[in-house]
Symmetry: C2
Amino acid sequence: MTPFSPITRADCEALDRQDPLGTLRTQFSIPPGLIYLDGNSLGVLPTAAAARVAQVVQQEWGQGLIRSWNSAGWMALSQRVGDKIARLVGAAPGELVVADSTSVNLFKVLSAALHLAGVTRHEPAPGADGEAAHSPRRDVIVSERSNFPTDLYIAQSLAQQHGARLELLEAEEIPARLSGARGQDVAVLTLTHVNYRTGHMHDMAALTAQAHAAGALTVWDLAHSAGALPVDLNTAGADFAVGCGYKYLNGGPGAPAFVWAHRRHVSSAWQPLAGWIGHAAPFEFTPDYRPAPGITRYLCGTPPVLSLAALECGVDTVLAAEPLGGMAALRTKSLALTRLFAELVQARCAGHGLRLVSPTDDAQRGSQVCLARDEGAYAIVQALIERGVIGDFRAPDVLRFGFTPLYIGHAEVWDAVEHLRQVLDGGAWREARFQQRQQVT
Amino acid sequence: MTPFSPITRADCEALDRQDPLGTLRTQFSIPPGLIYLDGNSLGVLPTAAAARVAQVVQQEWGQGLIRSWNSAGWMALSQRVGDKIARLVGAAPGELVVADSTSVNLFKVLSAALHLAGVTRHEPAPGADGEAAHSPRRDVIVSERSNFPTDLYIAQSLAQQHGARLELLEAEEIPARLSGARGQDVAVLTLTHVNYRTGHMHDMAALTAQAHAAGALTVWDLAHSAGALPVDLNTAGADFAVGCGYKYLNGGPGAPAFVWAHRRHVSSAWQPLAGWIGHAAPFEFTPDYRPAPGITRYLCGTPPVLSLAALECGVDTVLAAEPLGGMAALRTKSLALTRLFAELVQARCAGHGLRLVSPTDDAQRGSQVCLARDEGAYAIVQALIERGVIGDFRAPDVLRFGFTPLYIGHAEVWDAVEHLRQVLDGGAWREARFQQRQQVT
């Protein structure tokens, strides 16, 4: 039936039987029969989260009430979960906290980086002789044209506010922009480590070194990296990072995000969201803001405890891989899954106008595979969803499939491609009901 | 036994039997025997919230997964809950959204107000001839010295960043500061409607009119007002407002906050937290930020759905009072409770060095009563908590008691004062274990 495929479903089943990480799937409640290739958009439910959230609601909130800030450890939760995430991204304990959304955290760290670069003013207005502060030599924020929109919007907002300039490049143009004389006006390089639309992964260490050589700082968005593949912020010498709680960390819809600053900056950089929870002594209620030492100053308001408790359960599902080889083992499996998917699509869906958008080079690929098609990408995704194969569409022409190695198996990959083949062969996606756009796609 | 008290416990029981709002308490799961006078810090658990959050976790997240952004209405939740809160604060549907924390929302609306006042720059840096923008005539943010710290910290941060000046006054000094020539340099008046430490309530309509007469804008923090007493933002002609979800709205620990802008400003004011959820078309993934029309532009990142769902249950408990007279009826009861508490303390705890901090004038009092004592305020609160009477301490010397009219009864007030009397008479609070400070007090 499938003469061009070198791999059979039986082969995939055998791979699953041999998978040393196969047991990790039992941590999750996944609807039977569903092939969920959208963990890069919203991770699945950790079974423990249901009981844990119920406990927080009924015991900690319902019975403990205000006392639970102390007795149930709510006050320490942002740091406790932060310390757990730190283990996944090469950060030390106390260097990373959970707070707010990725967008809000980007605003904080990009502000901090611009401050260190001398772009941002945060002292009382200087006199006329202080106006030099408004003409910084370094006034360019460099990013990637296809970076996730919220990253671009936040950078654009800060650039406009501080008289800086946001310059958007193709990924391959970035190294040259940082080198030699050309790099001398760059204040900050801000990138999403793994591109949301293509799955292309930047070389964090190399680009950080190039940025530093140019005298610029780096801000990394780990939305599609944390929990998906090894990240080593300290070894890379990165300056600032943020990341998302609801994708590969399985923290639940809209889970709080995280924020990290390198220890060389954490107590010197200024960030403008000076909320009371980031104060050195929030319960002294003093009128003057005195930032907490260390990363705690990146907290702002009161954290959403229910969502934060669910996030901890999600992070725990990733940490459960530590005795089995941790992120390195997850990465090996992730690459095997994405490679398998790309090869099967090539072998079994040939002639249907699909183009592989994601890199074939393992070193440049995140944990997703994106395909493009001139026509019908949205409808094909909808037709797959109706069959229980959940990926997503990214405008204008991308079919995106995420492979979370914690809970996706090889046979599922085989089945997903078989569904895709059937949708394409049968032309079912041309039916009107698949064309109708929903709000979130 | 209590010759100075004009009111007996039997009188209080009778008041409870006649209370037309008495049935509203059945909406909540309150630990038996607990007298919870801290709903102004964290509201109690609405019984419906446990089932609702379980549904969101198990069905919507667990089964629906990414599809729930459409099928379970997650995408519309910030606006749906916002519309419900709008009914409690005199705002129209579509004028108010739930988002982020109070601190983050303050940053947005204060930035917007400063922009409208000409203090904030948000266009690309003008040339030398544009430097006039940096020397605004109006460059003062006026607030109250005893405003909640996060409000002051956010204002301070923005003032420093934009070369404005934060001027802190006593409440009674504010009208004069706004009048005549003195008001001409005021850009924004930002106040918490009901003071967290004293329970003093500002006259929103009068101060807004005075600010407008001076050419200034107003930003109101409704943290201790929303759900506690009637607020009418549109009638007052206020400019911007924010508020808290976890106090009188019973939204759960760290529930998301809300933000409102008057319709005359909503589409003209610029706010810097330009996240993708506030974009006019988030799922078009365009590189340029185009703010959504109306209040939706005050959304930033992905909302924490679990916490947001719990908040909706909390808001519903307040809306349940609508057929019984709504906020006006709740206010009548709230004033009766706070008056009763103050009178009973005066009658039954005389001679113990307690001073009434909150206004005796109903028109100036929120839904709380604060007492001060030169010595032992913290320990007395701890001794009360051990007896199951939960209020809180606010540094340096305040015992704070909140009275949520949805679930507090008159007999509870009587019992709380009796416990206070016993703690003071017996001197139990002097025991060492009550002196030990915990992180959250």
